[in-house]
Amino acid sequence: MATKKAINLKGIFYSAISLVWIFGLSAIGHISMVLIEKYNPAIKFDFGWGCAIVGILIIYMTRFVKSDSWQSFWGVLGGLGMWFAFEYSLMYGGDRMGVTYTFNGSYPEYRIMKWTFMLLLMVFTYLLFQESVRCNFIYYLRRKLRLMRGVVATGKISNYGPRTAFQYIMVTWTFYVLLMIGYDEQLFGPQSWFIYTLFFASFSVFFYLCYKLLSYDKFGANLKYAIPTVTILWNDVEILAKWGMLKEPWVHINWPIMSVIIAGFCVSTYLIVKDLRRKKAEMIESKDVV
């Protein structure tokens, strides 16, 4: 668990940049898939394999990174690469099996993903009982369900990269499964109490997580905790689109809006990289003094 501090301007700056970066990354990820499908669908499965290889390589290379902030940065990208590969593998599976779209428009790959809910539950059960896992939400559940048998695991974590990648994958997977279960007309449906509750809960929890995020003033922790914060907000974006109240700019390729998102992503990337380099330089200087 990262150390929390009182909210200050630095925390607000780091949180805002992290939120913009993660949101931009998700939007760019979506539009990349849409553009490939529209202009060059022949490459999509090769692209999926490329993402898997690059994702695994990035996660492997975090082994040589010392700074936890850089670890989080690369961990997010590694997780995104592997997640892309997962989606493309389901697309390929859907294509091979001739899975259709649903009548309310859900894509075949997400229909298949919905039925991984039992696998998700098994992984979640493992995380819940694995006492060295320090995820805030899982730790909260462990405390409330009285699952702790000893003291909380402490000590410095040195592999934030793979952990962040895994967090990205788990959070994205969980919310896709939840949304798809909710969209299923034979279970709940887009206009059901389930989706309304999910919409309301996501909206409220987003603000709570933003508040919590403000108390971290290092990119290492901020980027990591911005993942669930943005993904929870993304639920609302997806639900609004499903209700027909929002035309997602990354699905309908709205370049003016996408340009703003891409510009935000570029600026936030620049600020993150600049800050991480400055911190690295400071560390080297302080070592020289010692």
Binding site: K38, Y39, N40, A42, I43, D46, F47, G50, C51, V54, L57, I58, M61, W70, W74, L77, G81, G94, D95, G98, V99, T100, Y101, T102, F103, N104, G105, P108, E185, Q186, P190, W243, G244, K247, H252, N254
Partner: protein, 179 residues
């Protein structure tokens, strides 16, 4: 290896650029040109009466006589059941205005194939529909029970049921009901 961190990004960009270039070489026609050609072909065929106009019907309930969309439109209940069956892969057909039944199929000569209702079909849009930013493709399942106009290759088929390899589709309104 001071800047090794940029390596994955460079790899990804090279990979994407290589793939798109390969595709570019194989087809000099841009996406916009393809769409334009598809639309022109469709409207010309529509004007000449070479398109199929009809409604998309669900095969199981149609062939076992549970529903009779040839006599009266689906009721709300029947339509929901037909859509659920369609997304469970019950085959969809096109019941044309002249009473002919069309079975959507792949291009003649293709040996290994799959159900056509798993595919996206390029959608022809009017200028008004384009302005509204409507979906540029459609899948048949959400269109179950709706009136459509199709352009494609027509095959003789068997016992009065014809085959159609759909190349483009036109219909009024949004792709998904409620949008």
């Amino acid at each position: 290896m001071k800047h090794w961190k940029v390596l994955p990004v460079v790899l990804m960009i090279l990979f994407l650029a290589g793939s798109s270039q390969a595709e570019e070489k194989s087809s000099k026609e841009t996406h916009a040109e393809k769409v334009k050609a598809m639309e022109d072909t469709f409207w010309a065929a529509s004007k000449a009466g070479n398109t199929v106009k009809g409604i998309i019907v669900e095969g199981n309930s149609f062939f076992n006589g549970t529903t009779a969309p040839q006599d009266k439109p689906y009721t709300e209940e029947e339509l929901l059941a037909a859509k659920i069956s369609a997304e469970r892969n019950s085959k969809l057909f096109i019941l044309a205005e002249d009473g002919t039944l069309y079975y959507p199929t792949c291009k003649k000569g293709q040996s290994v194939s799959q159900s056509d209702q798993a595919h996206r079909i390029p959608r022809v849009l009017t200028e008004e529909q384009k302005k509204e930013g409507m979906f540029t493709w459609s899948n048949m399942v959400p269109l179950t029970g709706r009136k459509v106009e199709l352009y494609g290759e027509i095959y003789t088929g068997y016992a009065g049921v014809k085959g159609i390899h759909i190349k483009s589709i036109y219909y009024e309104g949004e792709y998904l009901v409620g949008e």
